[in-house]
Symmetry: C2
Subunit: 466 residues, 2 copies
């Protein structure tokens, strides 16, 4: 596969331009075309200089068949870290395509936290297959890791840490580090431990470097060390990192002994995942429903949620049916009732989202829930009155019926107050009973304000107008 | 204010228990009560051991009056970094309460990135007041920083960096660091620069520490350095940090000269803010609408969005009015039309959210937009057919009218396809024209499927049934 140096230079430039802004659509297209026409030279030329995370992005951007072709071509130089950067669905495909022998080799080359992550996402029989192919010491380390609960600190941590006796000096520590052969790839602080291997303080490397050799390490200790219990939920760990602006933190077992360390790069992934859960649940979409999910899985996941909400919709229809006599007498009611429902829906989704977000950021707790509910009810009432006047006037003019305008205005005030109440109360209640507040999804919020909106508008109209 | 040691111990325990999980509601309540009864001793005792971020959380959890009292009590020992951890609205209150002289002193004590952040959030006249009170060199540094666009790398970076000539050895570097008096508080790598002060590589401190004194630094350089142009959008910067698992990166001016460094802790804040923007815009809530926004500002922000959507609701009402004759003939149409609308709304919010999230994670680009639209249309069609049969059968039984069941089924298929089309296409179109895809909010999505749903259901019913 020869190509002119002009072409090569153009490609190089393209790769450069794409860096730092993600891969450009043009790059991906060129690459996919090369794969389709089995142009091995171009495929190798283009994929070779990519960063592992870019290669992961590229694999995700290809379609199923192209992915297979690419893996076949680069199998022998495949950087195992790519696996940690792939979406779940895509990773499964790639692992299947790589073959278990290759995957086991890849896992053996990884740092302990990456290896644990990749294995943790596999099916049990795949895990066994990979574990069997690992050296005994790595196998037992990973088995230990897999024994921790799925969302715990134990699953996030790396086992390789730099632990130093608390009474050492800067000079002794530097000599030790220079003499060590199995240091972690990168680390940001050393952990001072007592004779029982309990962490007593951490020292940032920048402090260590700037101090003279005779300085005792414990005089350089960071002000407040946070140790992370190995069972701590990863969401709590993320909160701690965010709140304390931590870069890394020691992890301890139930006896307080140092067992590993968590670093900020793993936490960034946790933050992204927690956010994804919130936004997806609010929308009434299952987790893991994304671009890479197979069509059939997507259909199945969405079906479940649609089914839940269609039941709510039938409840709303039943409410309207109670008032079919009124609609028969006055068809304007059927024309206007969606306005009441739509305003309630919008307002409840607004309130709900603010509350769910505040809970995720630990700004909303049971300590200030009442104050927030009060505020939301105030906001709902005042906006309700303003829109009651606005919509009431438009309806009064449109249908030349001011009583109808009054009724829709009253219904809007009441429905907005219900919307504010649902949106500010439901997430807090769910939190109390230990359910993710985001499942009070916008679809449920809309269903509630639909049902109540129809009921109060048609009910008031029947009472007052007919 | 004397208190028994038992009480003190109990409090200490409470503080300990609260650490790492955020402040407990009990702690906040105890604290607020102490403030309300002006119990200075307890307030000082409880607030003194808090981490600055916990103090910030505590200030946020208090009400307006309590905040003022607390600031008055702790003004003289107020840790300025607290300001960087506060929500915008609360920070403004605290700054006002502290008084400009105190704020200027606080800013002077901060690292350059924190100082820039706090000043950047102030009104211009407040900025001038604080700047005037700063020493001349800090003033000019901050003025320079404020000249960068608000969401650029220049606003995120700290100016203090450790730059080392590229030809130095480990020993020379360590001697230099030990002799320096104005190092950054914490740093994670040293930046190798050429004689023109262009960064050529970075060396992680862990590599520096583990190498012998005669080793030349450039042999320890990290594999691929990413330099960040000072004007780069912070969202791009965050993407880069995430993709490359960076901890810190050098920032360069347009001539490629080193001007500062960005560290991951600032990026975590950016990631949180970007998340917040997505989730808020999807819900049709303005940014900065949160627990701490004053009631009046919240009313104003929500009003604007409600007004937009009420216009859409009137459009839907107009569509229904076109078919009022049909509803008069067959009231079942009014009863059932919200079902068609609700299903379309749910489906479009699902599709939209998946697309907005994928765009934020740079998984969805114009390269694979068509494939995603195809997938979503397939999912919509198949779920549409399934629900058409389901809902059609229920309606056929309920109203003993199988033709009506057939019409609602057909309307559902068509509305779900429109929902899939809007949800998968609109975010990509918005991205193309440079608008945040999340403004294709769930409220707009719902409005579209309301309008189309009413139209197609009532239209088909009129054509087929009447």
């Amino acid at each position: 596969m020869s190509e002119t140096s002009v072409e090569a230079a153009a490609r190089e430039e393209e790769i450069e331009a794409a860096k730092g802004h993600g891969l450009s659509p043009d790059f991906i297209e060129t690459f996919a075309e090369a794969l389709d026409r089995d142009d091995v030279g171009v495929v190798r030329l283009l994929s070779q200089p990519l960063h592992y995370s870019e290669l992961a992005d590229l694999i995700e951007a290809l379609d199923f068949e192209q992915r297979g072709k690419l893996i076949d071509l680069i199998r022998d130089n495949f950087d195992p870290v790519v696996l940690t950067e792939l979406d779940d669905t895509v990773r499964e495909q790639v692992i299947e395509h790589l073959g278990m022998r290759h995957v086991a080799e890849a896992v053996a080359d990884m740092e302990s936290d990456d290896a644990l992550f990749v294995l943790g996402e596999m099916e049990p029989h795949e895990q066994d297959e990979v574990l069997a192919a690992l050296p005994a010491d790595e196998r037992s380390l990973i088995r230990e890791g897999l024994a921790y609960p799925e969302r715990s600190a134990g699953r996030l941590m790396q086992r390789e840490v730099v632990a130093i006796p608390e009474q050492w000096t800067v000079g002794e520590s530097i000599d030790f580090l220079r003499g060590s052969s199995d240091l972690p790839l990168d680390f940001y602080d050393v952990i001072l431990v007592d004779p029982r291997h309990h962490p007593v303080a951490t020292v940032h490397l920048s402090r260590l470097l700037a101090a003279g050799r005779p300085v005792p390490l414990n005089t350089l200790a960071a002000k407040d060390m946070k140790t992370i219990p190995v069972e701590m939920d990863r969401e709590e760990v993320a909160f701690l990192f965010r709140q304390r602006d931590l870069i890394s933190a020691p992890v301890v077992d139930e006896d307080g002994r140092l067992v590993g360390a968590i670093t900020i790069d793993d936490i960034v992934d946790v933050i992204d995942e927690e956010h994804e859960e919130d936004i997806m649940r609010l929308a009434g979409v299952g987790e893991g429903d994304n671009l890479f999910t197979a069509v059939l899985d997507t259909i199945r996941a969405r079906f479940f949620w649609l089914l839940t909400y269609v039941v709510c919709a039938f409840a709303a229809a039943t409410v309207i049916r109670m008032f079919q006599g009124s609609i028969n007498e006055m068809v304007a009611l059927a024309i206007l009732m969606p306005i009441v429902a739509a305003m309630g829906g919008t307002a409840s989704v607004q309130t709900l989202t603010v509350a769910v977000r505040a809970i995720a950021m630990k700004e909303l707790t049971s300590a200030n829930a009442l104050r927030n509910i009060g505020k939301e009810l105030g906001v709902a009432f005042i906006n309700g009155v303003v829109f009651a006047i606005l919509v009431g006037a438009v309806v009064g003019l449109w249908f030349a019926d001011w009583a109808l305008g009054g009724v829709i205005g009253l219904a809007i005030v009441l429905n907005l107050v219900v919307a504010g109440l649902y949106g500010s109360t439901m997430p807090v209640l769910l939190l109390r009973i230990g359910v993710d507040p985001a499942v009070a999804s916008s679809a449920f919020a809309t269903a509630i304000t639909d049902i109540f909106g129809f009921f109060v508008f048609l009910g008031l109209a029947t009472l007052i107008l007919l």
